[in-house]
Amino acid sequence: MKRKIYGTLCGLLAVGMVAGCGTQGTASNAANGGNASGTAQDTAAEGEGTDAAEPEQNQAESQTITVWHDGDESIMQVIAEEVNKELEPENVTVAFEKKSGLTDQLQLYGNDEENGPDMYFYAHDSLGMFAEMGILAPITDFVSAEDEKDLLPMTIEAGTYQGTQYLLPVYYETLLFLYNQDLWEGEVPETTDELYVYMEEHTDTAAGTYAVVNQHSTAYNVAPFINGYGAYIIDENANPGLNTEEMIEAVTYNKQFAELMGEGDYDTCNTLFNEQKAAAIIGGPWLVSGIKEAGINYGIKSLSEFTLPNGKPLAPYSGVQGIGVLKHAGENKKDAVASVLKALGKENVGISLAKKSSCAPANEKSYEDAEVAADEMIMAMRATAETAQPMPNLPQMSVMWGPAESFLAAVNKSGEDVATAAETYQQAAVTAVEDMQ
């Protein structure tokens, strides 16, 4: 008898262990155009925070569009407030949910109507990967050219993959020249050659004091030189360009700056600038809060205002944050999705983002607001947008960062010959691109 009880209990225990593997019944209401966010929050999003308060759910009247993001929650809050205000008459609500590791999450849930999101908010450089996976619907299915007429062309280009626009740009980031006004002597130069002369005169590597610091072996931070020289890390046909003549010229030119910039990693550069051991830093707007906390009297100059020896301006990469539509939502919630996109593209979202979160809006009209126009940092990014190039959004770019940065590190840190290293890492890049297939 005892044996039977033990046996039954063990069997039940074994069955209980696999019970969780079954699919959970969900009150899916896709058919009536209803709300998938409840499902997403109950299952996939368990334990994750929600940015916007869950709206009162009266499914007969209102519709909720769930947006996954991996960004700053306060920024999403600003967007949600503006968009929800705009969408109130249409009974559509946007709910942002933070998902760390969004790329992996979308790989798992991109095609999952029940557990996945309706839209996603992310940087544009992952766009090609999602488009190749076939999980996205073109933005042009929901908005017209008229709706996008005020968006900066650079930001639209960023959201376009192989001729199809999949991302509606909302705001963007570029690198800036940030300097300590108490340490910098005289005017900030207009050319990179003059900047180099200033650096030579004001840098003492042995004492650990620098004129300018930059992450000199990080491809994103060297991109202003690479793009300025007309070189490219990867072209539109996914061909790596690490050994082109222009790239060798750009990397050789960057190397002389690197020699006067110390170790050049993110933490070291920031610490040197914040501890006033460096008079200037090339970095993004994300550094500003730390600089303010350090009590530095800082000034900002757009990188586009520096001219290279070839007469062209520095041209940094831009990272455009925008919103994309998952294919299933495009099919089942077309009207609600279209309303959300139209609301997001308006200038009031950009104005709020600029005022409350110091983001550079994708909508040109937002810059006409007096308060936005008076913001030095945002206007510097606006000026940079003229020469900035969107980071490549090809999926192959994800494997190019490694070889490109190894190339820069080999030249700047290990002292390898530029041409030799260019060949070595071009080969590594070609192999990496081939290995994706």
Binding site: R3, Y6, A14, M129, G262, A409, S414, T431, A432
Partner: protein
């Protein structure tokens, strides 16, 4: 009756078997299956069987760096284990020296690196010791009038730097194991040896080493595996995204990580993972045989 007993045994072990099957066996079988397909970003839903192509690519295409990574891993494991065992042995011996005062204080302090989370230790070493601007190693060099050195920019210095950090992190465990093993040796052996005129080295090689061998073998085997599959130290010291140091060290685990998470080629990275799995199984069998002979 016998059959009933057999069923009962199976029923009792069923929950554990389901658990092991679900979280250990199934992923291995699934990885093996994926390794035979061309599953990647461009064949996300429409992948198909391609036989052993991924294995051929991983093993026979020399420029993929896989073979170099295997050699680096073997060298890394061998050197670390030799240094760990020898240094820990003598440090534990020192801690057991008769008449040593504050023995317990030393032992507690020595445990400190082991108790710290690896991620914190590694980043502390990267910034606090090896950094060219703020690192202690360069501060000392500067104070002595020498030029700063970038310890992590070339492969050999970077390998040594990683090894020093690995020793710092791993020695406490080994010292503790040796310390425990030494307590089990009967002190009368040493007294007899001394009466017979045996010196320090004679006692070490003829009493201490043979006595601790069977006790230490499992600890050494465990540490060998930990060292073999070490990832954090090499990755965080030299390959952190956006902070490459110039060194191009790759162990098979960092190599597999680069293939699995960067290239999105799940077929190829599964093949690499299966090769690593087989390698670990072979080494495990080899070491277990050694262990049995020892005991």
């Amino acid at each position: 009756m016998r059959k009933k007993k057999q069923i009962s045994v199976w029923m009792h072990s069923l929950p554990a078997m389901v658990l092991i099957g679900g979280i250990i066996v199934f992923p291995i079988i699934y990885t093996a299956y994926i390794s035979l397909t061309n599953m990647n970003l461009f064949h996300w839903d429409n992948y198909e069987m391609i036989g052993l192509d991924n294995y051929v690519r991983a093993l026979f295409k020399v420029d993929t760096g896989f073979l170099t990574a295997i050699l680096t891993t073997l060298l890394w494991t061998a050197l670390n284990m030799v240094f760990q065992v020898v240094i820990a042995f003598f440090m534990a011996l020192g801690l057991n020296a008769p008449g040593l005062r504050l023995k317990n204080v030393y032992k507690t302090l020595l445990m400190f690196p082991w108790a710290m989370p690896a991620y914190v230790s590694i980043l502390l070493w990267r910034v606090g010791i090896y950094n060219t601007e703020f690192g202690l190693a360069n501060k000392v060099l500067s104070a002595l009038g020498f030029e700063k050195i970038n310890y992590l920019s070339q492969n050999i210095p970077a390998f040594i730097s990683c090894m020093v950090l690995n020793l710092w992190m791993a020695l406490p465990f080994m010292i503790m194991m040796f310390d425990g093993a030494f307590q089990s040796i009967d002190k009368s052996y040493y007294e007899s040896a001394r009466m017979d005129g045996a010196g320090f080295w004679m006692q070490v090689f003829h009493i201490t080493v043979p006595s601790v061998k069977p006790i230490m073998a499992p600890a050494v085997i465990m540490t060998t595996f930990t060292t073999f599959k070490q990832f954090d130290i090499i990755y965080l010291l030299t390959q952190q995204k956006g902070a490459l140091t110039g060194a191009t060290l790759q162990t098979i685990i960092t190599y597999a990580h680069q293939n699995a998470f960067v290239s999105n080629n799940y077929g190829l990275s599964s093949a690499v993972s299966m090769i690593i799995f087989v390698l670990i199984v072979v080494i495990s069998l080899f070491l277990n045989r050694g262990l049995k002979e020892e005991v």
